[in-house]
């Protein structure tokens, strides 16, 4: 079973994203984290075979999105963790950096929309978890 993590320092964003995902039929368990450190801690405690979809903000205090990605990839569970970058940045440069991470499978400019959610469901890496039975 897939678990969904939303990491963003902005509580309103966490609220909006959770609601949108739920509304769009993401019926998996959703966990929200106000900081990258907390999310990383959570991942470490979870089983290695557990699969995750992470909605990751870039611009955060203490540990930004890139720093989180570096730490996370060190865990060696890249086959089970899929990351969608969700950022308010419209800087082309950020998109180029994201391409260097294996675990990053998508890039969304805020705000996340219903349409974005449908696109996520269609991504080959995670499509199997959203099949209508």
């Amino acid at each position: 079973m897939l678990k969904i993590l939303i990491i963003d320092d902005d509580e309103i964003v966490l609220l909006v994203e959770r609601k949108i995902l739920q509304r769009c039929g993401f019926d998996q368990e959703i966990f929200t984290f106000k900081s990258s450190e907390a999310a990383l801690k959570f991942l470490k405690e979870e089983g290695e075979d557990q699969k995750f979809l992470i909605m990751l903000d870039i611009n955060m205090p203490l540990m930004n999105g890139w720093q989180f990605l570096n730490k996370m990839e060190e865990l060696g569970r890249n086959d089970n963790i899929f990351v969608i970058m969700v950022t308010s940045s419209i800087d082309r440069y950020d998109k180029e950096i994201a391409a260097n991470y294996k675990s990053v499978i998508g890039f969304i400019e805020k705000p996340i929309t219903t349409e974005n959610c449908l696109q996520i469901k269609g991504l080959t890496q995670v499509a199997e978890f959203f099949k209508v039975l």
């Binding site: 609601k19 949108i20 611009n59 308010s88 940045s89 419209i90 800087d91 705000p111």
Partner: protein, 589 residues
């Protein structure tokens, strides 16, 4: 016979008194006027012979102090000189008496067979023979001197073989061979191989005749000389021979050749030279014109001679030329500065003429004018002057600093720009390259030097470079230097002309623009991250409210929209306060 010898003085060398008395008797009997002197020893005889000359000497071989008879005879003959010596011997010495004949004595007599007639005859014959002998010897000596001391080299050659039989001193001096060397040589040894056959034929055709031939001889030191040989047959020591007289004509031929060359040279210079040579009088009437007239004036020589030279000169120049020519009455040579002459119908050529007054030289009898066409030089000079003028005008008109660097002498010239642009007083401007180098900003110096070196060694001649240059007040100005390097035919740098443009203002503008760009980037980043964060939130919230009418907590969501909008407003106010107001900028300008 007696009449011919009125008085005879005879020395009788005889120690034996009896023999002397006998001789005296015999002689007095045959000859009245005879004077006898007696010497009783060789020593005494020597005294007499040294002090006096005798008509004849009678010598007895058996003297007490004579010693070796051969020595005695030779000494007496020698002392007697041109006087005949008659030897008297006893029978025992008969054979020896015969042998003495070869020692130069005139006769020998046996004492035992002596009689007045024989004695007298012997004396007279001896005197006579000696006289003829002496004359002959004198004549031969004279002849020998004539040959030996002649200033003209002479050879005596064997007629058939042409081997040398004799050569004179002049020949030895001329050819450098010694007499011994000559006597082992053949005259052919002097011939040069190229002429060998010709000379051999010439000689054979005149085998026994007089002939004269001009040929070359090789001296001992290898020098080749030109000679004229006159040769005629003679008899020499009983052999058929020919005597050849050598006339060394080398110097004469060289002089002739030099004269010939000098004439040819003269012809080449005057007739075939590009310079126009004319001979005229003070009124411009021509008596000679060289063929260059066709090239210089476009007129054939003959036609030119029918004209007056002054008619061809440009009216603005004619008086100047006439003045110069008139000046020749006081001065031998005058150079007429460039003036114009007509060529063909409408063309004017610039020429330059040197006139020389040779009226007093009968071979010339006029003024010699040497002219050359300098039209191209004049044109080039004019172009150069114009180009220099243009350069000066440009240098004065421009606000740039113009530099003119003489590479070879390390001299730098500046226009007024160096004062106006950088503030240097003329007195503090150094004239060498170092002074300029010193003023380049230390951080730019290496780059400027490297670029300059590249231009010096590469094919390109143009250099364009920006750097900072120190002003008199110690500040630096940004300059754009555009230089052009002039190279000689071998590609060596000769001169470098450059213009230094003050681009400090431009640099400042660029700096300002760069600062603005940096600020713009910052604003853009801020927009991207800070402004978009609350905006994105608002958009997300609205999306929820719009698309999901049944959503719970609508009030809470609306509150969030409001707080996000306030946040956004605060951020935009902050940006606005950072940015410059446009009106503010206008005022500042």
């Amino acid at each position: 016979m007696k009449e011919n010898y009125p008085s005879l003085h005879i020395l009788v060398i005889e120690d034996h008194l009896g023999d002397y008395v006998l001789i005296e008797d015999y002689l007095k009997e045959e000859h009245g006027q005879i004077e006898l002197t007696r010497a009783i020893s060789f020593r005494e005889a020597r005294e007499f012979l040294r002090s006096q000359k005798y008509d004849a000497v009678m010598l007895d071989l058996s003297l007490p102090d004579s010693g070796d008879m051969e020595v005695l005879v030779k000494e007496v003959v020698n002392l007697a000189g041109s006087s005949p010596v008659i030897v008297l011997t006893g029978n025992s010495n008969k054979d020896y008496g015969v042998r003495t004949l070869s020692m130069g004595i005139s006769d020998y007599l046996l004492k035992d067979e002596l009689n007045p007639l024989q004695l007298s005859k012997s004396i007279f014959y001896s005197i006579e023979r000696k006289k003829i002998e002496t004359q002959l010897s004198e004549s031969e000596k004279k002849y020998k001197n004539l040959f030996d001391k002649s200033p003209l080299p002479k050879f005596v050659l064997e007629m058939h073989s042409l081997d040398f039989l004799n050569v004179n001193r002049a020949a030895i001096e001329l050819y450098g061979y010694s007499l011994e060397e000559f006597l082992n040589m053949n005259v052919r040894d002097l011939w040069v191989p190229e002429e060998y056959e010709e000379v051999e034929n010439e000689w054979r055709s005149k085998y026994k005749d007089w002939f004269q031939v001009a040929l070359r001889h090789r001296k001992k030191n290898g020098d080749i000389i030109s000679v004229e040989v006159t040769s005629n047959p003679i008899e020499f020591d009983g052999k058929q021979a020919r005597v050849s007289l050598i006339h060394d004509v080398t110097a004469q031929l060289q002089a002739e050749r030099a004269l010939q060359h000098s004439e040819q040279r003269f012809k080449a210079l005057v007739q075939d030279g590009s310079e126009l040579v004319m001979i005229m009088d003070f009124k411009g009437n021509l008596s000679y014109a060289s063929p260059a007239s066709q090239a210089v004036l476009g007129v054939e020589m003959d036609e030119l001679l029918r004209n007056n030279f002054f008619y061809l000169i440009h009216e603005e120049d004619i008086n100047k030329v006439k003045d110069c020519i008139a000046g020749l009455k006081r001065q031998k040579r005058i150079q007429i500065p460039s003036y114009r002459v007509k060529r063909g119908k409408n063309e004017w050529r610039w020429i330059e003429t040197i006139v020389t007054n040779l009226c007093s030289d009968p071979a010339v009898n006029g003024i010699v004018a040497n002219s050359r066409d300098i039209t191209e030089f004049v044109d080039q000079e004019r172009e150069l002057m114009e180009s220099l003028k243009r350069y000066d005008i440009v240098a004065q008109a421009t606000s740039d600093t113009i530099t003119d660097y003489d590479v070879i002498n390390d001299r730098m010239e500046y226009n007024e720009g160096i004062q106006n642009m950088f503030g240097y007083n003329p007195s503090e401007i150094g004239r060498d390259g170092c002074w300029w180098d010193d003023k380049v900003h230390p951080d730019d110096k290496e780059r400027v030097k490297r670029k300059t070196r590249e231009v010096f060694h590469n094919k390109t001649n143009q250099l364009q470079i920006e750097y900072r240059f120190k002003c008199a007040d110690g500040t630096y100005k940004y300059v754009l230097d555009r230089s052009y390097l002039i190279k000689d035919e071998e590609g060596n740098a000769v001169r470098m002309i450059g213009s230094m443009q003050d681009i400090t203002k431009l640099q400042n503008y660029i700096q300002t623009i760069e600062n603005h760009n940096a600020r713009l980037k910052e604003i853009s980043w801020t927009q991207s991250h800070v402004v978009r964060a609350p905006l994105a939130r608002i958009m997300g919230l609205i999306d929820l409210l719009q698309n999901h009418e049944d959503i719970e907590d609508r009030c809470h969501l609306m509150d969030n929209i409001y707080s996000s909008a306030r946040e956004l407003d605060a951020i935009i106010r902050k940006i606005s306060s950072k940015a410059e107001h446009p009106a503010e900028k206008i005022n500042r300008c």
